[in-house]
Symmetry: C2
DNA sequence: ATGAAAGCGCTAACAC
DNA sequence: GTGTTAGCGCTTTCAT
């Protein structure tokens, strides 16, 4: 009989069906060697009692939770939202639930969340760190030996798989696009904090410039004091010694570039070209629509999950580094340098 | 002694400290009546063993999980991301963890997720339904009597609290803005599926028009066949019998409106004015920047959580309906009707 | 083919 | 103050 207040337990089902809890448990797990008569009675009992297995209690007994943890720096951005979205589906396909948590761009919080995942005894943790694979959260994962992988703001690690996009390659493509259009003075727009990825983008651009377009002048400004600082610095560059092209290294920067162009009446792409890292829907609808490096969010999620699964099933996992390729989406915001102004001035050869 | 493979349990700590598990449990819960000497030894043992309480095991014993479930239709939108983000903080402040899941705009999946929350025996569930408080998920919550509240795409319910924005009021404000600028022919842009909220926005606009601006012509087109259908229909309206103002009833619609204006060389706001429901960062940076109804995301989250908490602590909870006010953000996309063209034609009085 | 028993890690009476 | 005991809901040998 079902006891008073609470919900039906496996024992309630068992006694109602006239079998033992063990048999019900077997039934629930698809064991085939149960007498058909009993199967039938168990089914009836389950229906009558509205019985549902408590997965957490089952996990407790099994000493392993069917949960994958996912820690993101920020849930308000479409990028991480999409990542979470996809991982959730992948996890469920494998019988896990995904536990999503946001560190709100705080390393301290990230640490707390890693610890919570560990307390929860999750099967594995996918960490998209605030800073890098050397940040507080990642380091704690190593300390306590949690199973997991690192994604997005990471390079490579001695013990964990890392999954990221090929920042350098994408930026090289941007460089080539500008170079082909005759641009010889490009401004890179970055932010101080999100260092690693942005640094790779800068270097990727610079290296390619040195290789294929040595007479290209490449300036970079970094908003060390946040986005408003960047806005101010950009304003100065636009007012004097204006470049013919801007490569924004993060989405908000693209936003800022566009609005500063407008504020000054600088026409894009006639006066200046623009490409941004990280594509977004709205970039199709601005005037001009803006060219952007699109990150392969789904592939990132797929790879991260796949590597995690392999790792969970491996005896002695090796640390791998995985880079996904980005796609350069060309829209109206770029054009050839109109006259020889900059090209002529800089062409020394 | 700590046993072989696994992690230290409360018993390991107890025996190492020379006390019983019960005492350690008390210590962990801040019971003050423990002999200082024992407190000290427990602390030492915890440190030496790196002991951490398993919250799920504790919850099991307590027969109540310290988890709040949050089900969103979609994690890739900033709106729900922000909602989740805020709820996560609120939940943790009260000692819960928030379990976030996305129904991916599918009612079937929503149903599954509600059932999972129930299986998990969460303390409460915040549901942002795909359709409404009468959708699959919500109905199941009622059936099984889960504690929770409904948020965003909801009106009112007999048994659950509902928290939403005042669509009608916001739309009335939009109507007044247009009316004051002399607009007498406005086009409303909606989508078939997201019916309830959109309907309220339409009615809110229409009612206000009837009240304060009876000579205003209000047309509405609904993309029954998805966004591309809407785009096509909008195109037709713009080509013949063009209105002087457009009120888009959802964010994607604003996007579409803007791009269709551009495609046709229709100048905004000179030729046509635009206001969109649901504000976004990118609307500041388009040309023109677009006026929008901004939804109070944080307030929504705060109210939803507060009502849930009250409900969890109430003996016989009553169902309340909560509406938050939106803010109309005016930007460049609206202006007065230039000449008497439409005004003159329609003014019958 | 099934059930008894032990126990996952923890808490809560209730004795002492 | 502290330990004993009895579970929370489930799984898993190991007999039978």
């Amino acid at each position: 009989m079902k006891k008073g207040g609470g919900r039906a337990s496996i024992h309630d089902v068992a006694s109602r069906a006239g079998v033992s809890a063990a048999t019900v448990s077997k039934f629930l797990h698809g064991v085939q060697t149960i007498k058909p008569a009993n199967v039938a009675r168990i089914k009836v009992a389950i229906n009558e009692l509205d019985y549902r297995l408590d997965p957490l209690a089952a996990d407790l007994r099994r000493s392993r939770r069917n949960i994958i943890g996912f820690i993101v720096p920020d849930l308000e951005s479409e990028f991480f939202g999409a990542l979470a979205s996809r991982l959730e589906i992948l996890a469920e396909e494998q019988g896990y639930s995904l536990s999503i948590a946001s560190s709100h761009e705080s390393e301290e919080r990230e640490l707390k969340l890693v610890e919570r995942m560990n307390d929860w005894r999750v099967a594995g943790t996918i960490l998209a760190p605030v800073r890098s694979e050397r940040g507080l959260g990642a380091e704690r994962m190593k300390e306590v030996g949690m199973d997991g992988v690192f994604v997005d703001r990471v390079q490579s690690d001695a013990r964990y798989d890392t999954i990221g996009v090929d920042n350098a390659r994408a930026s090289a493509a941007v460089c080539r696009a500008f170079c082909d259009l005759g641009h010889r003075h490009v401004l890179l727009l970055g932010l101080g904090e999100v260092s690693r990825n942005v640094r790779l983008r800068i270097n990727g651009f610079r290296d390619e410039a040195a290789r294929i377009c040595p007479d290209m002048r490449v300036d970079a400004i970094m908003g060390d004091g946040g986005v408003e600082d960047l806005r101010a610095k950009l304003g100065k560059c636009l007012d004097s010694g204006r470049p013919t092209a801007v490569y924004s290294l993060f989405q908000k920067g693209t936003h800022i570039a566009l609005s500063e162009f407008r504020r000054r009446g600088i026409r894009c792409p006639e006066d200046i070209s623009l490409i941004g890292f990280d594509d977004a829907d709205w970039m199709q609808v601005t005037y001009p629509s803006v060219s952007a490096v699109a990150q392969p969010v789904e592939k990132l999620a797929d790879s991260a999950f796949e590597l995690l699964m392999e790792r969970l099933n491996a005896d002695k996992p090796v640390a791998r580094m995985h880079l996904e390729d980005c796609r350069l989406v060309l829209r109206e915001s770029i054009s050839a340098v109109p006259d020889g102004r900059d090209v002529g001035k800089e062409k020394a050869t």
